[in-house]
């Protein structure tokens, strides 16, 4: 059994700055930073914020949470003497977690620029500060490795479960449908019972479709086995079973993405980027037409997902999971992770376009034929 590492985030105690260190550092940095106060439940750092500041927690307690499938999952307690935002302080990347005060919190906040000033004016002090922060960060990195190992264990379990569902449960659903089919043969014109049976059949079929989707999502090794093209097509094909108020036509155009040596991790991220964009359009955009295009040549990959739906205004984009556009930031992080760029362009009432590039050269000088397939949802 693997245990849920998230159940008890406090179990892994990390090194903290002692009271003396806090006093010393706030003294060093007095001219470069600000003291801040937060009430309980107040947001100290928001997910997606682009700031380069680091916070020393002088007193109080805070909780670090990350978004997983639209929910905030606590991953760490931050206690007195601890630091917040050490990674963004170094790499200026958007925040990948949010931090909520769980008691009243007193912080000392320094941004990167102010710290650079300290480095110039008093390199000795800056070095002392940064090496202490590095120790805390090193501890946190080690802990992430432990999380990864636990995640790997869970992943193996998920795959095993998916295989069991696939072999056993789905076969038995087929057997149930056969039995129901036989039952129907024995009804001599009893229409009420026949209707009940039809209803049962559609319920079981629905369960079967859901299971298939689940197995595909949980046993997500499919991509490395059948390739990106096949996985995307299977995803679109599965969407056809989706109930949409009006028919939605998805056109998928690509040029044989599985030829030319696309690295596995890029393929996986690209799949998730396309999947997320299409689901956004299907679930939130009320679109009639969604055009998906992925073209790959020696220059790199250009992908786009365009819909003719309701669109949204830029000010609507929010990072909270409750809002439908939460996936957008994820999309951006994924694209950037593989060295690419992505733009999300939308005007209210005029649809949304997700357009991006990934600079990875195709290993061929030939022109690869382009293929388009259409899928219709909610027929």
């Amino acid at each position: 059994m693997t245990e849920n590492a998230f159940d008890n985030p406090g179990a892994l105690d990390e090194p903290t700055l002692s009271s003396q260190e806090i006093i010393r550092f706030t003294d060093y940095l007095a001219d470069y930073g600000d003291e801040l106060f937060f009430d309980s439940e107040e947001v100290i750092v928001n997910y997606g914020d682009i700031t380069t500041s680091i916070d020393l927690l002088i007193s109080g307690e805070a909780l670090v949470e990350v978004p997983v499938n639209g929910k905030w999952i606590p991953v760490a307690w931050i206690k007195q003497g601890s630091v917040i935002g050490e990674i963004a302080f170094l790499d200026s990347y958007p925040r990948t977690a949010r931090v909520i005060a769980r008691t009243g919190c007193q912080l000392f906040r320094v941004d990167r620029k102010a710290f650079n000033d300290l480095s110039e004016n008093n390199p000795q002090r800056a070095l002392e500060f940064i090496s202490r922060i590095s120790q805390i960060m090193a501890y946190r990195l080690r802990r992430i490795e432990q999380f990864d190992a636990i995640e790997q264990g869970r992943d193996d379990m998920r795959k095993e479960l998916a295989a069991d569902l696939h072999d056993q449960t789905m076969s038995e659903l087929s057997a149930i449908l056969m039995h129901l089919g036989l039952l129907k043969l024995t009804l001599d014109g009893n229409e009420e019972t026949a209707d009940d049976l039809d209803h049962l059949v559609s319920m079981v079929k629905n369960a079967d479709v859901n299971l298939r989707q689940l197995v595909r999502d949980k046993g997500h090794d499919e991509l490395s086995v059948v390739g990106l093209e096949e996985t995307l097509r299977a995803f679109f094909k599965d969407l056809e079973a989706e109930n949409t108020p009006n028919p939605v036509t998805i056109g998928y155009t690509s040029n044989r993405l599985d030829e030319g040596g696309l690295p596995g991790p890029v393929g996986r991220d690209l799949y998730q980027i396309i999947r997320q964009s299409v689901l956004n359009a299907v679930d939130h955009a009320s679109a009639d037409v969604i055009d998906v295009e992925i073209m790959w040549d020696q220059e790199g990959i250009v992908f786009s997902v365009k819909d003719d739906g309701i669109g949204f205004s830029q000010s609507n984009i929010s990072n909270v999971p409750e809002a439908g556009h939460f996936g957008l930031l994820n999309l951006k992080l994924r694209t950037e992770r593989v060295g690419g760029t992505v733009d999300i362009i939308s005007t209210e009432g005029e649809g949304t376009s997700v357009v991006g590039t990934i600079p990875i050269a195709r290993k061929t000088s030939e022109t690869i034929p382009t293929n388009t397939v259409q899928y219709v949802l909610g027929k």
């Binding site: 076969s171 087929s174 057997a175 056969m178 039995h179 036989l182 079967d208 059948v226 096949e230 030829e259």
Partner: protein, 221 residues
């Protein structure tokens, strides 16, 4: 009368197959087995015409069982029922000979008529592949066929129906064209795809043979 053997490790599924097959007056379920080894032994002991085998079974899997059964009793038709739309299994099943064999996905059997249809077809000597698998094969073909003679949509439609075990007449009716029209398309396919030496498909038309040969030679995973 056809004597049928069923092998599946789930009692629930065994009962379902048995009851479906027994709706047919000319079918007799002569043996019900829990694994592949039992199926192999029963096929040697009893007069079996068709063996319906689950792909995943304890002791001996369905593909291995079908091979042993055919080595010992070449006249027995086999239907392999699988949860995997995976070409490598099909390849394994038909590599030595493809006469009177079927590879069907479990969820295709939701419709009770399908198992009956497949059993009847294999008894006539046909090779039957599941629809989902044919779709996948055609998809693979479209993406891997550069330089091997590109087939038109219409030609692929004829091939798909051939892989399902349809006769020229049935294909003609289904596509709303004349039988002669079907034959003309089949000739075109044969011209485009060279038939390789190992002629292991015995019943299907040459055009279907050529297509499946090509898919084997492309060594699709």
């Amino acid at each position: 009368m056809a004597n049928i053997l069923i092998a599946d490790d789930s009692p629930f599924i065994r009962t379902a197959y048995k009851r479906v097959l027994e709706t047919q007056a000319d079918f007799v379920v002569a043996s019900v087995c829990e694994d592949g080894l039992e199926a192999v032994n029963q096929c040697s002991e009893l007069q079996i015409d068709v063996a319906v085998l689950d792909i995943r079974m304890p002791r001996l899997d369905g593909i291995s069982a079908s091979k042993t059964i055919r080595e010992k009793n070449p006249e027995i038709s086999v239907v392999v029922v699988s949860a995997y739309d995976d070409w490598s299994y099909v390849k394994d099943l038909i590599e030595t000979d493809s006469k009177a064999k079927a590879y069907i996905l479990k969820n295709s059997l939701d419709d009770i008529g399908e198992l009956i249809r497949v059993v009847r077809k294999v008894m006539q000597g046909h090779l039957i592949l599941d629809n989902a698998l044919i779709e996948k094969l055609v998809g693979y073909y479209e993406r891997h066929s550069a330089g091997t003679g590109n087939l038109s949509d219409r030609e692929l439609q004829v091939i798909s129906r051939g892989c399902r075990g349809m006769t020229v007449q049935e294909i003609a009716t289904d596509m709303e064209i004349s039988p002669e029209g079907v034959e003309t398309i089949q000739d075109l396919i044969e011209e485009k795809l060279e038939i390789s030496g190992d002629d292991y498909l015995s019943i299907q038309s040459n055009s279907t043979k050529a297509f499946l040969n090509l898919c084997v030679s492309l060594s699709l995973e």
